[in-house]
């Protein structure tokens, strides 16, 4: 009896959270799934004759060559952004460990500056940096290198670099706290056993913070996958990652139903990445 009561009260405490999640998270997802099977449109006669059209949107997606292009673009964007942010974030955190406090503070603040800015502001900074008459070209000009249209000739590279700059601070902070929690005695015994710096890093430190690495990678993968503001502000519709492509189809071609079908593709990719990370993590825990 007592047991039942306690589980009931547990449920009671959870209820507000569950209701909120259901209302603002689960319900919109269900609606989106439903809309992706309809001809939902912003205007035109389809907007007046809303109806269920089965898998038509999905069939169209598979025959649309632009979908393949933007799928590849998205994967490039996500993989390079995530790898860049992870490596850079970790390196900064590792190099800052056990350094002089003032140095840590200055470097930390500089790196954080990119992250605390709202996405659009960060994007505008990156845009003014890389635009034809921007800072980057001015600096290159000092070394006698002529103007390069970064945003036009290498748009994908530009947004990846900007995204890495914007997101590195997050990885850095996560790794800083993880590294601070690596027990000193483990490090000391590794040192006493004669392990070199690199050996300690790869043989001791990284295995200890492995879970943090995985969680962090998953978090930034998912947030990068949905990036819209950064890409759109910097290059308009030039770099057609899936979110941009989805926006074009939904709001420029007025096909909201098709747009939601594309968003399901984004959701699917996110799910695949998540399952992949969870699997790796789970395997490790079993050991």
């Amino acid at each position: 009896m007592r047991k039942k009561g306690s589980s009931l009260s547990k449920f009671g405490y959870l209820l507000p959270a569950i209701v909120l999640m259901a209302l603002f998270f689960v319900w919109p997802i269900i609606l989106t799934i439903y809309f992706s099977f309809t001809n939902l449109a912003l205007t035109g006669s389809a907007a007046a004759n809303f109806r269920f059209i089965g898998v038509e949107n999905y069939a169209k997606m598979f025959s649309d060559s632009s979908v393949k292009v933007s799928l590849v673009t998205t994967i490039f964007f996500v993989v390079f952004s995530v790898v860049g942010q992870t490596i850079l974030g970790f390196t900064i955190a590792y190099l800052m460990k056990a350094k002089n406090k003032i140095f840590r503070r200055i470097v930390g603040a500089i790196v954080l500056a990119g992250w605390v800015m709202p996405e659009t502001v960060a994007a505008i900074c990156a845009y003014t940096f890389m635009t034809d008459k921007g800072t980057l070209n001015e600096i290159l000009g000092l070394f006698g290198i002529g103007m390069v249209s970064w945003l036009f000739k290498y748009p994908l590279l530009s947004v990846i670099l900007a995204n890495i700059w914007h997101g590195t601070a997050f990885s850095m902070m996560v790794y800083q706290s993880a590294l601070d929690n690596v027990p000193e005695d483990v490090m000391e015994s590794a040192k006493m056993d004669g392990a070199g710096k690199l050996q300690t890093l790869f043989g001791v430190t990284i295995p200890i913070i492995k879970d943090t690495v995985l969680t962090n990678t998953m978090l930034i993968t998912l947030s990068t996958l949905g990036t819209f503001g950064m890409v759109y502000t910097m290059t308009g519709t030039t770099v057609q990652t899936l979110p941009i492509f989805m926006y074009m189809r939904a709001f420029k071609n007025y096909e909201l139903g098709y747009g939601t079908a594309i968003s399901m593709l984004v959701l699917l990719i996110g799910a695949v990445f998540s399952i992949f990370y969870v699997k790796i993590q789970g395997k490790d825990m079993d050991k």
Binding site: A41, L42, T43, G44, S45, A46, A47, A48, K60, S63, S65, S66, K101, R105, A109, L112, V116, M117, P118, D132, S149, L151, F152, K153, G236, T237, T238, M248, F251, K252, N253, Y254, E255
Partner: protein
């Protein structure tokens, strides 16, 4: 301890930034919600008791001119002179966005009675699709009892605001034409003389070549909209100006069959491609910039651009009041520096232009249809309407406006009016806006990615066929 304080401080700054970011959006949201609910309340109140009613009016304000804008002035001065001023409150809602985002916003608002404006400014090309969606109110019967409509408006333009069912859904407010603006100093330098009128596409290409050869390297021979961000401008000002000059049209108005495989389409795209391949257009990063017209205007006003395929309103930017006053000239001498040539047909023998324009329409979800219509007729009274004409630089949709000196003395108004007599209109078809989006994507990829004409065209055909049905294409 110190370290902790610093990190707390950092966190607080961070949170602060985030919160201010969120805060400002949510306040503005709340403000607009409030506005809408006020409107709704006011309307309900009025229905019940006959108190002051609120009329909501929305229009695009891409330049963020706010209360200094000519649209705003036009509406407020009309309202101030309106006899029903005391009974009706105006809720003026300018939308600071480009045209394409403005449409999206208004379409979303009109879906629901609680957010729908009463009177909204509508581009005539967007009208048919919005009519098909059921957003726009039929005003045919209101018009029949309005004397001004029957006597004062240009007949040809009345066609532009009819739906495919033959009923009228909006009142035309402006019209415009397109042609080639050219810089006479650049043309003289290129050995083409100060007065120029091309007779075929080849003449345009020849002029480009002459500018490229004879002028300095940084002079761009020709500019036209060709990007996704220019959207409708790419379709209409560039592609359709070429296509209709080949003798073909986009759609057969009698059967509703879309032209997706005509030779004219290939020829138009090839012309665009030729301009790019020969280096007649500007630096690609500027041509594809989100505000590419600012580059075009800057170059035109400083003698760095030969010609610009653009609308009849284009000169306004080069006036002393515009963003790019013509260097070395005053408003009185602008016509010595800037010419407006007609766009020739492909192989000569005539000229072509496309005509567009804006209109006032009443939302189907409006609670104040009759009042909105009444205010519309007030806006279109000549003494009020002149504010709009002078401010926008567009052509009048009403006869007799040239009795106002402010209008008839405007530069290029005679040239433009003459062109408008033989102008083509965009298809009166609810699918036009969708097809247009595929047109500009096709033009964009040809210039941006050097996509072959055939392959871009075949993507276009597939998209249009899925959008309008294969049986409706040829």
């Amino acid at each position: 301890m110190k370290k902790k304080m610093v990190s707390v401080l950092l966190c607080m700054t961070m949170l602060g930034t985030l919160l201010t970011g969120c805060g400002s959006t949510s306040t503005s949201d709340a403000a607009s919600d409030e506005k809408t609910s006020e409107t709704a309340e006011a309307t309900e109140g009025a229905e019940a008791s006959g108190d002051a009613t609120t009329l909501t009016i929305t229009f695009p304000d891409s330049g963020d001119t706010g209360e200094n804008g000519y649209m705003y002035n036009w509406i407020t001065s009309t309202y101030d002179a309106w006899e029903k001023k005391d009974e009706v409150t105006l809720d003026i809602q300018p939308v600071v966005a480009n045209d394409s985002d403005y449409f999206t916003k208004v379409q979303t608002e009109m879906q629901d009675a609680s957010t729908s404006p009463d009177l909204f400014f509508e581009d005539t090309f967007q009208l048919n699709t919005d009519v098909a969606a059921g957003y726009v109110s039929d005003i045919t019967s209101d018009l029949s009892s309005w004397d001004g409509w029957n006597t004062e408006f240009i007949e040809a333009l009345k066609e532009g605001t009819k739906g495919s069912d033959g009923n009228t859904y909006a009142v035309p407010v402006s019209t415009d034409v397109r042609g080639l603006w050219y810089n006479k100093d650049v043309f003289e330098q290129a050995g083409l003389g100060r007065d120029w009128q091309p007779e075929s596409w080849q003449d345009i290409l020849d002029a480009c070549e002459a500018i490229k050869t004879n002028c300095e390297d940084d002079v761009v021979p020709i500019w036209f909209a060709c990007s996704n961000t220019e959207a409708e401008a790419t379709s209409m000002n560039t592609f359709e100006m070429l296509l209709y000059g080949t003798g073909e049209t986009l759609v057969d108005e009698s059967t509703g069959v879309w032209n997706v495989s005509g030779q004219g389409i290939t020829d138009a795209l090839t012309f665009i491609q030729t301009c790019k391949e020969n280096g007649y257009i500007g630096t690609l990063s500027e041509v594809f910039d989100a505000s590419d017209w600012e580059y075009a205007n800057k170059y035109m006003s400083t003698g760095k651009l030969g010609m610009y395929l653009n609308g009849s309103w284009g000169y306004a930017d080069y006036l002393s009041t515009g963003s790019y006053p013509m260097e070395g000239y005053t408003d009185d001498t602008l016509s010595d520096a800037l010419g407006f040539a007609q766009m020739p047909t492909q192989n000569g023998g005539g000229y072509v232009t496309m005509s567009g324009g804006w209109s006032w329409a009443i939302a189907n979800n409006s609670d104040n249809h009759d009042l909105a219509f009444e205010f519309l007729t007030e806006l279109m009274k000549s003494e009020n309407y002149i504010t709009y004409l002078v401010g926008s630089g567009n052509l009048s949709t009403k006869l007799g406006m040239d009795s106002f000196d402010e209008y008839s003395s405007k530069l290029y108004v005679n040239e433009a009016t003459a062109m408008s007599e033989t102008a083509f209109f965009r298809p009166h078809n609810e699918n036009y806006s969708k097809v247009s989006s595929y047109i500009y994507e096709m033009v964009d990829t040809i210039v941006r990615n050097d996509t072959a004409v055939d392959s871009a065209l075949s993507d276009f055909q597939t998209s249009v066929k899925t959008a309008v049905g294969e049986e409706n294409t040829k």
